[in-house]
């Protein structure tokens, strides 16, 4: 009987307990605070957008595997992460069918057609965001919140605290760009306009701290990214050392969400520590450029998908020198 025999396989005979699934689960856990705040802030419709994108992503992957007669891969939860991230990148009032379309695009076009998990050359959620932004520019930049004069409990649930407390729907970055001042405290808590998952600095940082503690991500990419953006704005922002302006650049818009959750995506970021630092610097420079000179106030998602394309080059340029070699192997 086969089961009576001892297993024979090549060494090592022990493995660490970390699995792809664990990692994805950790990312999902880390994304929960930002999502909860998004729903609190924008109301029940935000939750529906999240549900729809996750469902669209998971179903697309499941059906694709089924159609291509490949083993089902949805069990690794990576499609769930893509779905959540996509939802966090669209406004709360976004039409559900458009959200679903974004999810299908992210998984089918960007991920599965290139070979599935580990093969996509671009962050699927951000590529889908770019796709939606080009296809539906008005809806993607509509951060308006309907104001309610005398709210009841149901209003809180349906429309969120934003509508009730009468916070402006415009994003802080747009306000800064237009020369208006912003309220740093509100920005830190997240009672501002923006996409579903990007508004609350404190919620994003909680999730990021969890990922760092669990050793899912290192700080190399996020820190160099954020620092480079700050330095860029310090030099070229035109406001000098204005803390409100600089903090507004960091905390308003998608920088923190992008730096901690999307630029750190393993598949689409450089693999060597040195490469990750270069990647962070490039991201910061591009984000600064896009925000400073671009047509819109935002620049994070384009900066990330653009730098995703540079990853193979960065990897090639930052190969490690193997132990005991005078030069890196590739130069020989």
């Amino acid at each position: 009987m086969l089961s009576d025999l001892y297993h024979v396989s090549a060494a090592p005979h022990t493995r660490s307990s970390v699995t792809t699934k664990n990692i994805m689960q950790d990312v999902i856990i880390a994304l929960i605070p930002a999502g909860l705040f998004g729903v609190y802030n924008f109301g029940i419709h935000a939750l529906m957008v999240i549900a729809v994108t996750v469902l669209a992503c998971v179903m697309t992957e499941f059906l694709y595997c089924k159609y291509r007669k490949k083993p089902a891969t949805v069990g690794d939860y990576s499609a769930v992460v893509t779905g959540i991230l996509l939802a966090y990148n669209v406004p709360s009032g976004f039409p559900l069918w458009m959200a679903a379309l974004g999810g299908i695009f992210a998984i089918l076009i960007v991920k599965m057609l290139f070979g599935g998990l580990g093969q996509n050359f671009m962050n699927p959620a951000l590529a889908a965001r770019a796709f939606l932004l080009i296809s539906f520019p008005n809806r993607m930049t509509d951060f308006a919140v309907d104001k309610i004069a005398s709210p009841g409990v149901m209003d809180y649930l349906q429309k969120g605290f934003m509508a009730v407390d009468g916070v402006s729907g415009a994003t802080p970055l747009a306000a800064i760009k237009a020369g208006e001042s912003v309220d740093l405290y509100k920005m830190f808590v997240g009672q501002i306009g923006g996409t579903i998952g990007e508004t609350s600095v404190i919620a994003i940082l909680m999730g990021a701290a969890y990922l760092v503690l669990r050793k899912v991500i290192s700080l190399r990419i996020p820190l160099t990214y954020i620092l480079t953006t700050v330095v860029f704005m310090l030099i070229f922002g035109g406001k000098g050392f204005d803390t409100t302006f600089l903090l507004g650049q960091v905390c308003g818009g998608g920088l923190l969400l992008g730096a901690f959750f999307m630029a750190t995506d393993y598949v689409t970021s450089p693999i060597t520590p040195k490469g990750q630092i270069i990647f962070g610097v490039f991201l910061g420079l591009l984000t600064g450029l896009f925000r400073h000179l671009g047509g819109t106030a935002e620049g994070v998602s384009y900066a990330i998908i653009f730098c995703n394309l540079l990853v193979p080059l960065i990897d090639k340029a930052t190969r490690q020198k193997s132990f005991g070699r005078e030069r890196a192997a590739v130069e020989k």
Partner: protein
Amino acid sequence: MGRSTFLGGIHTYDGKELSMDKPTTVLLPRSDLVFPLSQHIGAPSKPVVEKGEKVLVGQKIGEAVGFVSANIISSVSGTVKEIEKRLTVQGTMVESIVIENDKEYRTVESFGVERDFTKLTKEEIRNLVKDAGIVGLGGAGFPTHVKLTPKDDSKIDYVIVNGAECEPYLTSDYRMMLEEPEKIIGGLKVILRLFENAKGIIAIEDNKPEAIKKLSELASKENRIEVHSLKTKYPQGGERQLVYAVTGRKLNSRKLPSEVGCVVDNVDTVISVYMAVAKSTPLIRRIITLSGDAITSPGNFNVAIGIEYWELLEAAGGFKDKPEKIVSGGPMMGNAMYTSNVPVTKVTSAFLAFLKDKAAVEESPCIRCGKCILACPLQLMPFELAALSNRSDEDGFVKKDGMECCGCGCCSYVCPSKRSLTQSILQTRASILAKRKKA
């Protein structure tokens, strides 16, 4: 001097608490003994006994062929029953001498005679080591007399005794350091006689404070010997990692330690050198750790080389429950076996049995997390080498330094996608080496 550690590597559950406090017990074989003629690196030895011949303890039964080869010595007295192909730990069939044990343990005449090594010439010491059939007992099995014969004796400045024992579960070297530290110092003094400019360093990982204490006390009385404590990390006991941690000198795969002025020998090897030179006792016994969650009473055993694993297993009380996997050697670099009817050789350090086979996991696609790169103690890029291996790109593999891999297993261990990186890389490496040999 080195930094007492190296870049990369992993921290894993070490399981040493199962057997580290168990004193070694001497185990006498009850059944036949099997001596494969190839249990070292280099040419297989050739049998010098015939079927039906009577042999004694300490008698040479296999003779070294050429310089890089090693003698094989009988560990029991009895009759040569068979010279035939037998299964080994590696799963290969190897020509072996089978001896029927008469349980009388009659020895050859010169066996156990005391000798004053301070009166021996270098040549005499080297010949004694060669005759005793000593090879690197840490696992590689490289003939020790070859290691002790570098091009220029005066250029060796460090003789490093490897007491790192970084493989999880293994405690045999640790027990030797606690139980027979005088022999380690003695063996090191023998080796230092060969290298007049060298300093003797006993390198021990800092998870073995008792051993460090004991050997430091003894070393303080010697002016050419000191103890170096190393940070605990796998694979600290790898030759290249050890040389770097102790001296700060870097070796690549094509360099021998002697080229950077070092000679590295395992604790058990050094004791064997002492026994061979000072006590006229060739390499016929070794210490083996029996451990793992499937073993009833884990422990350390002093066994005759040639004994079969199942006898050891009986001595340790058998299996608690049927294991999924049994391993000869450590869990990181040892060999899985499908049967325990194989003999202990000179390089066997442990017999482990696990209820669950942790390596029996489904592979999933690489997600480029980079953990293998950070874990590789040689700063290679395992995910890339494995990918090259999987598409048989041997030129690319060589170009990207795949031949530098030491097979430590760190990359496979850390991979969250549970990919068999080490296996792929070693397979390609072996195939390239085989082709080079042919050419």
